[in-house]
């Protein structure tokens, strides 16, 4: 094949770019270091959340959202403060919110993607109108989760493969971008040992069996972030902003998310910006049934669970579950430990615990309406949550608080929890329940959330005393820091063209998805609003595809 464009990476951003290019009749060679089973990359494992603004789903639930409100939230969360490095990220943020409030839903709808009628409320913020967080629910869950988001782009791409427009080179690891006369003209790399039968997500062999070189008019780098590369995460960890980097990190993404192409692109002349901005979650639990090494699952908890640091002190307001990821991370790390505790009741776990990831939500992933209704509305926790409660190493279940504390102290990596002190704090919180009002801000937040129909029905338990045996047993969960997203990356203009350190375009090189900080080298700034990662991969992959389809002769 004599390709017009080489796409490095067969994750979501690469597939979207390939789809747009094939649609325009361009020939595309897609290279990936993993096998065919891994098509779709990290997106396959995701929950399929999409950031949409003022959607019909929101309107049906009575949510009043607007472009203006979403811009306020995005800019408040991003908190862009760097003149040079935030130049393109600002422009991308503007364009992305315009798209999320404009054509995004239609674009995906035309491809066959559908979202659930219930809109989730992620990152409820730091308590300031112009600060971080979503003012209203905006997290639209794809019916079919991550695999469905992948499918709507993969199917047309596989069709183009049949027609000879697209060719895949699996187990092709790119090691170098070929630069001639100041322009990127191709790629060189190693062919890795074949492993056709290795399941999706499993770590694969790095043995090389050959070399390759391919040339094309343009190269699109869509290789993902550094999520599984703990060395790079530690190297760029913003200690002065978040506190000391955790000693224990568990991995929220597969082993192939190694960030290699960042350095390779940099060597070719690309500018990498905002490396110190990353998005790691505080609610990580060790997967009892792991797929990739050190496999972490994120708990998506509703707002009712009480959150304590490693020493057993309640985290300061507003560090409640699903409010302010980086703010809470900082609060957890502040006392020198790298984990925290959620304490809750059986009633809360049944209504408020969900697990992130397509494989942890089999009902929605398989688009099974009956199973979804049964598992979400029936008594008891959803199957996968119950399985973690039984098998997970991070879970403690007990009838009394004393037993609970004993269990917690068995798995604590740091200081022992003092029973009396924990009890005092929980009883104090429980006493605040006597009136419909009170001074506990977390309880106020719970009451407040229940004014939103979606939360009331599916997400937020009726406030009750944590120590009320009728709502037991008591549950404690040890939460670890889970690595996930790279918010900085290759600096790109609005056509996804990679920019050099001097601000000029590096001819022939494009970047999309997480490797480009989801657009521009950091469209999220310091904080994400959630539901924005898949969307950023689609938006930046599409921008690269459309620009190349327009400009290539």
């Amino acid at each position: 094949m004599n390709p017009d464009v080489i796409v490095v990476g067969s994750g979501l951003a690469g597939l979207v770019a390939t789809h747009e290019l094939a649609k325009a009749g361009k020939r595309v060679l897609v290279l990936d270091q993993e096998n065919r089973n891994n098509l779709g990359g990290q997106a396959f494992w995701s929950l399929g959340g999409l950031f949409l603004v003022d959607s019909p789903e929101q309107r049906r639930l009575g949510i009043k959202d607007s472009y203006e409100l979403a811009m306020q939230d995005w800019m408040g969360s991003a908190a862009f403060d760097r003149e040079r490095e935030d130049h393109w990220p600002r422009r991308w943020a503007q364009a992305y919110v315009e798209w999320a409030a404009g054509g995004k839903r239609q674009y995906l709808h035309d491809l066959g993607l559908r979202v659930l009628p219930m809109v989730g409320w992620a990152e409820r913020g730091d308590g300031k109108a112009d600060g971080h967080g979503n003012s209203v629910p905006r997290f639209h869950l794809t019916w079919g989760t991550g695999p469905e988001v992948v499918r709507v782009f993969l199917e047309p791409v596989l069709g183009a493969e049949k027609r000879g427009l697209v060719e895949f080179g699996f187990r092709h690891r790119v090691d170098e971008l070929i630069v001639e006369d100041g322009a990127v003209v191709g790629v060189r790399g190693a062919v890795l040992e074949p492993c056709d039968d290795l399941e999706r997500g499993k770590a694969s062999s790095r043995e090389t069996v050959g070399e390759f070189e391919h040339r094309a008019a343009a190269v699109v780098v869509a290789s993902g972030g550094v999520g599984h590369n703990h060395d790079l995460i530690r190297k760029y960890w913003p200690t002065e902003r978040l506190g000391k980097c955790p000693e224990t990190l568990i991995s929220g993404v597969p082993a192939h998310v190694d960030g290699r192409m960042l350095l390779i692109s940099e060597t070719a002349g690309a500018n990498v910006v905002n490396r110190d901005r990353m998005w790691n979650y505080t609610e990580g639990i060790v997967n009892w049934d792991p797929i990739w090494p050190n496999h972490a699952i994120r708990i998506l908890a509703g707002p009712s669970s009480l959150w304590f640091d490693a020493a057993g002190r309640r985290l300061p307001a507003p560090n409640y579950p699903s409010f302010d990821t980086n703010g809470t991370l900082k609060a957890i790390l502040a006392d020198g430990h790298d984990y925290s505790w959620l304490v809750l009741t059986q009633t809360i776990i049944e209504k408020e615990f969900a697990l992130s990831g397509s494989e942890q939500n089999p009902d929605i992933t398989s688009k099974d309406v009956k199973l979804a209704l049964k598992s979400r509305l029936a008594k008891g926790a959803p199957g996968p949550v119950e399985a973690f409660k039984q098998h997970g190493v991070d879970f403690v279940v007990a009838r009394t608080l004393r037993e609970l504390v004993d269990g917690m102290n068995k798995i604590a990596r740091g200081p022992k929890i003092d029973h009396d002190d924990l009890e005092r704090q929980i009883v104090a919180r429980d006493r605040e329940l006597g009136n419909k009002y009170g001074k506990d801000l977390q309880l106020a937040a719970v009451e407040h959330a229940r004014r939103y129909l979606g939360d009331r029905i599916t997400r937020v338990a009726k406030p009750h005393r944590i120590l009320d045996p009728a709502h037991g047993p008591l549950i404690a969960v040890r939460l670890n820091i889970l690595t996930r997203k790279t918010l900085g990356g290759l600096e790109t203009n609005l056509d996804s063209q990679v920019v050099r350190a001097d601000g000029s375009v590096l001819p022939g090189l494009y970047a999309a998805g997480e490797v480009a900080g989801f657009g521009g080298g950091g469209v999220h700034g310091y904080n994400a609003l959630e539901g924005t990662f898949l969307g950023g991969c689609i938006f930046s992959g599409r921008a690269a595809g459309l620009a190349l389809a327009r400009d290539l002769r």
Binding site: D54, S55, P56, K64, D65, S66, Y67, E68, R91, Q94, A95, E98, W99, A101, G102, G103, R105, Q106, Y107, L494, L546
Partner: protein, 254 residues
């Protein structure tokens, strides 16, 4: 009238379209950082109210505003019908250095209007229909002003209703009948050529009134033409970031 931005910033005057108001630029203005931005409600529109007026008369009024502010060398940005005003202003006032035409074809030769528009041009009938136009009809017209699939948010719908209420019915024959004749006799591309000032034309690829088919005509008279593929007839609302970036880039073009 409303003025935003630093007093010493390069001046930009924004001219809205038929049936609109200065609020149609609410999304664009904050993105024109560093510029001194002047906006007015045109005659027969918004808070200005009063009788309807054609583009030439509108331009004289705007020239008066610029004179009272002591502004010259301004960039005149006209959206839709506002483009006629921008060109008239440039031709007659001597206060305009550059012109930006947004989402406006040179004439009506291949324009598509929402069904029933001819009723609005009839004397009396038009005035009555305008007075008693149901909200859904106004919403439908607002939807025609953006790209298919773009969701006209509650803010914009409310704005359209208020603008419609404030609009003088006399504007309908001026825009729908007289303007058709005027543009046929003296299309905007001809005027751009005769004007001889640097001009940029921003078109929406999904404009339901005009499309972006006039790109070649404008390019032929030497204008810089930029098409925003995903925008409809109202790029100032749909893709304000792109429009602002284009305007700022155009201002520094040499």
């Amino acid at each position: 009238m409303r003025v935003d931005g630093p007093a010493e910033g390069p001046p930009v005057v924004l001219l809205h379209g038929f049936g609109g108001s200065l609020h149609w630029f609410d999304r664009l203005v904050p993105l024109l950082g560093g510029c001194r931005v002047i906006r007015v409600d045109l005659l027969g529109h918004g808070a200005t109210g009063g009788p309807a007026a054609d583009a030439d008369e509108q331009a004289r009024a705007v020239a008066g505003v610029l004179a009272s502010l002591g502004m010259s060398d301004v960039v005149a940005v006209g959206h839709s019908f506002g483009a006629d005003v921008a060109l008239s202003l440039a031709e007659t006032s001597g206060r305009v250095a550059r012109v930006v035409v947004v989402a406006q074809a040179p004439d009506y030769s291949d324009a598509t209007f929402p069904p029933g528009d001819f009723l609005m041009t009839l004397p009396l009938v038009g005035a009555l229909l305008h007075r008693f136009a149901p909200a859904f009809a106004v919403r439908a017209v607002a939807a025609h002003a953006v790209a298919p699939g773009f969701r006209v948010g509650a803010t914009l719908v409310q704005q359209s209703l208020e603008d419609h209420k404030a609009l003088d019915a006399g504007m309908f024959p001026i825009v729908l009948v007289q303007r058709r004749r005027r543009l046929a006799a003296n299309p905007l591309d001809t005027r751009v050529r005769e004007l001889g000032l640097p001009t940029m034309v921003v078109l929406g690829g999904q404009d339901r009134f005009y499309g972006a088919r006039s790109a070649r005509r404008y390019a032929a008279v030497g204008a810089r033409v930029e098409t925003i593929a995903e925008a409809g007839h109202s790029p100032v609302v749909e893709t304000p970031g792109r429009v602002a970036a284009l305007i700022q880039d155009f201002m520094t073009d040499t």
